[in-house]
């Protein structure tokens, strides 16, 4: 057992209101430099929708992630042979149009325009060429199913839905949607790291954050095509790739990353998970339907004395193990099993989990009253307006069982609380539902607390980073302490 620690995340989609505060917080801190205009290390997508870049989940086109061939897994986009053949032209690079051409507006014209019969306007200008452009798309073109119906209809997760289900999904005035905030998943089996010919990408041993060394990056852009979540971006100005760094300077100093900190809906949870690094390869080879269980089995119980002992042997500090015991992520993922990894079928073993959203309650209109009491306990999960198949494509590798489990448990907790506070459901019935959803009363209370009443410190259990220990591998911490802050700041530049 090779125990490592990983700063992991849970996004509770049932609480996300799609306000984009996270995206803006991130943009203002990290990606408002030249060349990063189009990058959204954090973005929020409307589902159903095509996301950013357009249809990023369509791996037939984008060739991201791993695929299982002849019993072993290999990158879809490249391998040792192909990387040499395609060294001067990466054939699977998304084009600028599939992101969008970043633009600003010609505000000066509002002040400097010659006097004329019309009001002056600020025309859009490309931030790449500086010319006037006709804006055709943007990072949130289909936000709230705006833009055009074409985008939502082309969501790759609609695969396998019946014609009728699709009609229901898009019926006027019954339209339904939810939001999917996305950052880098800081995967356990990152395709970006595997693909880099320069070895510029690495996963930090101490906390699992995946980073790109700006001095080593040689602009091959293999990571851009290899990442199935399209979360590495190429900075066209510095000629280096960049990605979400999970605000490591904040995490190291005990603060939550900016997007977590600013989240209005308090949907984000952050905490450390201990995992067994020796078993990653074995789990990445499992068949699709066993991937979620396998992935979950990688996460180790920080209360297990064997694990604690192994962690100590692997150099994981006791304070990190202690932090793992309080991790909200551990509860969602391992204890309650209601948080699921996105698109586990890409086999990158993402360490960002999502609690699948509840659809609006299915209702029937009887004259003037809306009837939402069901005969069967969970009928509105099976017949939810967002079809289970759709959620299963997103969070279950196409298999519904795990998604149904998570939704049932959430619904049971909701009904249980309803019995306690509203009283239109009897406690007996609520307890029956809890039992059917594999949930105890204590667990329901805990889920309710961490979902609805969670404080800042409950949501973000940030492990001490022990930089001094991480640095010890490279240099003497005392020397580092004395000389840090001296030197020259050299930003990344094109070339070697």
């Amino acid at each position: 057992m090779n125990v490592r620690s990983q700063v992991s995340m849970v996004f509770h989609l049932d609480k996300c209101i799609g306000c984009h505060t996270c995206s803006i917080a991130c943009k203002n801190i990290w990606t408002d430099r030249k060349g990063t205009d189009y990058m959204w290390w954090n973005n929020v997508e409307t589902k159903p929708g095509t996301g950013f870049p357009t249809r990023w989940e369509d791996q037939e086109k984008y060739k991201g992630g791993w695929e299982k061939k002849n019993g072993s897994i290999s990158l879809k986009s490249t391998d040792k042979k192909r990387i040499i053949l395609n060294i001067f032209h990466n054939p699977h690079m998304p084009s600028m149009d599939d992101y969008y051409e970043p633009w600003t507006y010609d505000y000066q014209n509002l002040f400097n325009a010659k006097e004329g019969p019309d009001q002056p306007v600020a025309l859009p200008i490309s931030k790449v060429t500086g010319d006037h452009i006709n804006v055709e798309s943007g990072p949130n073109w289909d936000d709230d199913l705006g833009g055009s119906p074409i985008y939502a209809e082309n969501d790759p997760n609609l695969k396998g839905l019946t014609e009728q289900q699709r009609e229901h999904l898009f019926a006027i005035e019954r339209l339904v949607m939810f939001y999917l905030p996305r950052i880098c998943n800081h995967c356990l089996n990152p395709a970006c790291v595997a693909s880099c010919p320069s070895g510029a990408l690495y996963k930090r041993g101490e906390d699992g954050i995946v980073l790109i060394d700006q001095k080593k990056c040689r602009a091959w852009r293999s990571c851009v095509s290899a990442c199935p979540y399209k979360k590495t971006y190429f900075n066209w100005f510095t000629g280096k790739s960049e990605k979400c760094i999970l605000c490591f300077p904040r995490v190291e100093t005990g603060q939550a990353p900016a997007c977590f900190h600013s989240c209005v809906g308090r949907i984000r949870y952050l905490g450390v998970l201990l995992y067994d690094a020796d078993r990653i390869e074995e789990v990445a080879h499992l068949p699709d339907e066993e991937l979620i269980d396998g992935h979950r089995s990688l996460v180790l119980d920080p209360n297990d004395p064997q694990v604690v002992e192994a962690a100590r042997r692997s150099g994981v500090h006791d304070s990190i193990v202690e932090s793992a015991r309080n991790s909200p992520v551990y509860k969602f993922v391992k204890e309650w099993r209601i948080a699921l990894p996105p698109h586990i079928e890409y086999r990158t073993m993402p360490m960002l989990y999502y609690v699948p959203p509840m659809s609006p309650v299915m209702s029937e209109r009887n004259d003037k009253t809306v009837d939402n009491v069901s005969d069967s306990l969970f009928h509105d999960i099976e017949q939810a307006r967002i079809p289970l198949k759709f959620l299963a494509n997103l969070f279950g590798a196409g298999h519904e069982a795990k998604v149904v489990y998570a939704l049932r448990k959430q619904k049971a907790v909701r009904w249980y609380r309803r019995a306690l506070t509203v009283g239109d459901v009897t406690l007996d019935e609520a307890k029956r539902m809890l039992a059917a959803a594999d949930c105890t009363v204590e667990e329901a209370e805990a889920i309710y607390r961490l979902t609805s009443l969670c404080t800042f410190d409950e949501r973000f259990v940030i492990p001490p980073s022990h930089r001094e220990e991480a640095i010890e591998m490279m240099e003497d911490p005392h020397e580092r302490r004395q000389s840090t802050g001296f030197g020259f700041l050299a930003g990344p530049r094109r070339g070697l």
């Binding site: 095509t50 870049p53 357009t54 249809r55 369509d58 086109k61 984008y62 060739k63 054939p91 699977h92 690079m93 998304p94 084009s95 149009d97 599939d98 055709e136 798309s137 055009s148 074409i150 985008y151 209809e153 082309n154 969501d155 790759p156 997760n157 609609l158 695969k159 396998g160 839905l161 019946t162 014609e163 095509s225």
Partner: protein, 294 residues
């Protein structure tokens, strides 16, 4: 250790000095006969392909009694740089040019004023003889056959290797009517070469030891055999006859071939990378036909 190295170095320097000194002494003491032989060899190597002494004109004039035609100083100047004399418009030089149908005498590498004088001495001495050793090489004058022409073409194209290992003509020269791409463009077009140099005899003589700066070093060690020369001359005469005055070489063919090649390579690239990423968003918005399958 250091001392030893210095000593060794000194002894090396002395060795080199000694060998140099002995060599110089030997050269100075060489008998005049040796110098005469060397000049004759030089003549054979560099002049004989175009000139005879008492054997009639080849490409260039017969050199018998040349010193009676012009004074020694003029001749030396001409030998050292024929082109300069022509450029200056010297009337006698112009006459020579006219007689040789525009073929300018090549400037011979390694020629000094002294050597030119030695050469003229040799020519004078040979002219005095009744029968000079440089009267001209005897070539068979039997009429050419179809087979000669064919063999010549094979030699030119390199399909039959030259027996002494010389490179095939086609690597530098071309002849019209060779096929799509013709031969090399480094050397001159040899289509009308037999007319230019004045027929069978001069051309044969030229091929015995080609005297241009480019060909001489190449063929010095790999001379051609008389039968090969015969076949090649047959081929050149035939090609001069075959091709009329049509002067359209194949630059257009060459260009079109290049274009075709480019199209083919681009097509190949397109096929090899047929699974490359193409636009996603634009076709999606334009057609909407990508709709995720049921």
């Amino acid at each position: 250790m250091q001392m030893y190295r210095v000593a060794r170095r000194l002894s090396e320097v002395w060795r080199v000095r000694w060998s140099w000194a002995i060599g110089t002494a030997l050269v100075c003491a060489a008998p005049p006969v040796a110098v005469g032989q060397e000049t004759a060899a030089f003549f054979k190597q560099n002049c004989y392909s175009c000139h005879t002494i008492g054997g009639g004109r080849l490409v260039g004039p017969d050199l018998k009694s040349v010193s009676q035609r012009k004074d020694r100083e003029w001749l030396v100047r001409f030998i050292l740089n024929p082109q300069a004399m022509m450029d200056r418009g010297d009337p006698y030089a112009m006459r020579i040019l006219e007689e040789s149908r525009g073929v300018v005498m090549a400037q011979i590498a390694g020629l000094t004023r002294d050597r030119a004088n030695l050469l003229l001495d040799l020519i004078e001495a040979e002219s005095a003889l009744e029968k000079s050793q440089f009267e001209g090489i005897k070539f068979s004058d039997r009429p050419f056959t179809e087979l000669d022409v064919e063999t010549g073409e094979r030699i030119f194209n390199g399909l039959t290797r030259l027996s002494n290992g010389g490179p095939p003509c086609i690597s530098c020269h071309t002849v019209r009517g060779l096929g799509l791409l013709g031969g090399g463009r480094l050397g001159v077009d040899l289509t009308k070469v037999s007319e230019r140099v004045g027929g069978r005899k001069p051309l044969s003589a030229w091929l015995v030891s080609p005297a241009t700066t480019t060909m001489q070093p190449v063929f010095k060690s790999y001379p051609m055999e008389p039968e090969e020369i015969l076949s090649l001359v047959a081929f050149f005469e035939n090609s001069a006859k075959q091709v009329g005055d049509d002067d359209s070489v194949a630059p257009l063919t060459f260009f079109l071939l290049g274009l075709m090649g480019m199209v083919l390579v681009l097509g190949l690239f397109d096929a090899l990378w047929k699974n490359r990423f193409r636009a996603v968003r634009r076709p999606l918005v334009a057609g909407g036909e990508m709709r995720t399958e049921v």
